[in-house]
């Protein structure tokens, strides 16, 4: 076979092989277009700072109280003070610098619309996404009223919720993650000025560690 015929034979052989993609395509064409209706059903997020995504609707403190007592108070207490180990929702303003900081809606949460987002997506515990928009606005109104952040006789809607400034709005440090925030110490020998002093050794006696025997 001449050299050119050989080359031609190789080319033909290659052409008969299934195509192996040398490069991945930029797009694969997998998946199907999401329709506006499909998106609307799942697009439940509400953005904290500007309330983007807040749905139409309105609520009030009186309706919120009725809903809260029926659906929330068993865990969160009748005044939002929390029951057992369930979280308190209201109170503790001014405690963030203390030895026992309490993180609640009026002491720690930065954004009103974030309340809407969380209550609608995750509450009541065990029956999420069961509240109507009006019901969520009412519960938010009641909670804000408990924290002296919303009057008892005023309707709460998207615009009003956007306009509310929660007490700890400016309590979060802007500018991203400041870490690493501790200087590396790589000392290998004679690293301590004084012998180590035990500062805490209660773990073995506290009795808060669960048994590590298998449950039979």
């Amino acid at each position: 076979m001449s050299r050119s015929l050989k080359a031609l034979a190789i080319l033909l052989a290659l052409a008969a092989m299934p195509a192996l993609a040398q490069d991945k395509p930029k797009r694969f064409g997998f998946g199907t277009a999401a329709t506006a209706e499909q998106i609307a059903g799942w697009n439940i997020d509400v953005r904290g700072p500007d309330g983007a995504g807040l749905p139409p609707g309105k609520g009030n403190v009186a309706a919120g109280e009725e809903l809260y007592m029926a659906q929330c108070s068993a865990c969160h207490g009748e005044f939002g003070e929390g029951a057992g180990r369930y979280p308190e929702l209201i109170g503790g303003r001014g405690t963030l610098k203390s030895d026992d900081p309490r993180k609640t809606i009026d002491s720690y949460w930065p954004h009103g619309p974030g309340l809407y987002d969380y209550i609608f997506r995750a509450m009541p515990f065990g029956a999420p996404q069961s509240l109507s928009h009006d019901e969520v606005y009412s519960i938010v109104a009641w909670l804000l009223n408990q924290g002296d952040l919303w009057p008892a006789d005023k309707e709460l809607d998207a615009a009003a919720l956007r306009a509310i400034k929660l007490p700890n709005r400016d309590g979060f440090i802007a500018g991203g993650d400041p870490r690493p925030d501790v200087k590396p110490d790589t000392c290998m020998t004679n690293c301590r000025k004084a012998p180590p002093k035990i500062t805490s050794d209660l773990a073995a006696r506290l009795g808060v560690t669960p048994s590590q025997k298998a449950a039979d």
């Binding site: 997998f30 277009a33 993180k103 974030g114 969380y118 180590p196 560690t209």
Partner: protein
């Protein structure tokens, strides 16, 4: 029901006949055999005298019945419910760097959803050219990638900010696991939908009863995030996100959204509950850090530890432990037996991978004197695991999350090991 010819039944009968053991109803075979010297030299062990179960007995295998203590455990007083709670990896029972899927710690906010993969969908929308919905089959057609990464809850060790509290490494450090994860890179999916120029963040949302959400910078999404369908070679376990989850290498566990159903592309973070009320680090001045994603270098000695005391008196022991860093590869682990006065570098077991558990070892000739055992990890970014004092000096006592300080075990003359803190 067992038939008279069932090998396990025969083994029971033989064992009681020969060993004269009383079989308690419900007791395992192992317990019945544990007593006595019947199976020790020079005797022929029981299990050599009869056939064991055949290949159809365990279509999906389980650990030996003798390993029933190697289990996840929770701390009942920690949370109000078991559905919004956490359990802990039994680090003291594990070797190597891969956590068996069934032992990976669990953190749920609304329990484990029971998801039919045929009915599961991932929707990607927002600031994109083509909002798309993917089936599981769609996602598996894309080019795939496998990576071994640790995943750690940022509250790991969080019970110890104010003092040593948990008498066991399972509870002091067990909110970490390390698996091989397989899936499609999120950047591949984002290219498929076409991200608009104004996009800067994504919101990931789970299909659980908490519809868990977290905001993640787009740069990380385009870098190394994997949309995973497999864990340690098989489909992800339900409690770890079946059928689909995010794996965000090196970043706090909470952003690794499980049961992933939706990604929305946006131009700013959402400031949702899990990134404001929770998973923010409260500083002594009352201000809180937010979006502190990276899990900085951490390490712990898993043997000895309170669960694994030095039981054999003076002599040789191997100190064993694990180190990991969300910044990159573990470069060095130093061990101190005298509370940080002097340090020796441990041997690192390869492969040493980025954002992955690394196993370390150091021989110890124990003379029976008390020890203050510590490990200190350093990574290839130059970061060195700090002391609890150094960490508290900057962050105080109430930041809950990201406590990665050098841990201290006190070894007593009787070999028992206690969780202590030193200054």
């Amino acid at each position: 029901m067992t038939s008279p010819n069932d090998p396990s039944r025969r083994r029971f009968l033989t064992s009681s006949a020969i060993g004269g053991l009383t079989l308690v109803a419900g007791a395992g075979v192992g317990e019945a055999m544990a007593a006595g010297d019947d199976n020790l030299p020079p005797n022929v062990p029981e299990w050599m005298k009869t056939l064991g179960p055949g290949v159809t007995a365990n279509p999906y295998g389980n650990p030996s019945a003798y390993e029933k203590n190697t289990i996840r455990r929770n701390v009942p007083w920690l949370t109000a419910t078991e559905e919004s709670s956490i359990n802990f990896t039994p680090l003291h029972e594990l070797d190597g760097i891969i956590t068996p899927s069934g032992l990976c710690f669990e953190r749920h906010h609304g329990g484990v959803p029971d998801i039919d993969p045929e009915q599961h969908r991932l929707m990607i929308h927002g600031l994109v050219d083509r909002p798309l919905i993917f089936t599981m089959a769609d996602l598996m057609r894309f080019p795939s990638v496998s990576r071994i990464h640790f995943l750690e809850c940022p509250a790991n060790g969080g019970m110890e900010w104010k003092g040593a509290q948990m008498a066991g490494v399972q509870f002091s450090h067990g909110m970490v696991h390390c698996c091989e994860w397989t899936g499609v890179k999120l950047s591949t999916l984002l290219a498929e939908v076409g991200v608009k120029k104004s996009a800067k963040w994504i919101l990931a949302e789970g299909a659980d009863a908490a519809a868990m959400t977290r905001s993640i910078p787009l740069a990380k999404a385009m870098d190394d995030i994997i949309v995973c369908y497999s864990q340690n070679g098989e489909r992800i376990r339900p409690e770890n996100g079946y059928p689909l989850r995010l794996l965000v290498p090196g970043w706090e566990g909470n952003v690794n959204i499980k049961w992933l159903r939706r990604i929305k592309v946006g131009d700013q973070p959402w400031h949702h509950r899990e990134e404001t009320s929770k998973y923010t680090d409260l500083m002594p001045d009352g201000k809180a850090r937010q979006f502190t994603f990276v899990q900085e270098a951490n390490s712990v000695i898993t043997s000895p530890c309170p669960e694994k005391p030095l039981k054999h008196g003076k002599g040789f022991y191997e100190i064993r432990g694990i180190a990991w860093s969300g910044y990159g590869r573990i470069k060095k682990v130093d061990i101190s037996t005298d509370g940080g006065m002097n340090w020796r570098s441990a041997e690192l077991q390869g492969p040493v991978l980025s954002r992955c558990l690394t196993r370390f070892r150091l021989p110890l000739q124990w003379d029976g004197r008390p020890l203050l055992l510590q490990s200190r990890a350093a990574d290839d970014s130059g970061y060195v695991q700090p002391s609890i004092e150094a960490l508290r000096k900057v962050r105080g006592f109430n930041s809950i999350y990201h406590k990665n300080s050098i841990h201290t075990w006190r070894v007593r003359p009787d070999g028992e090991v206690e969780n202590v803190q030193i200054a």
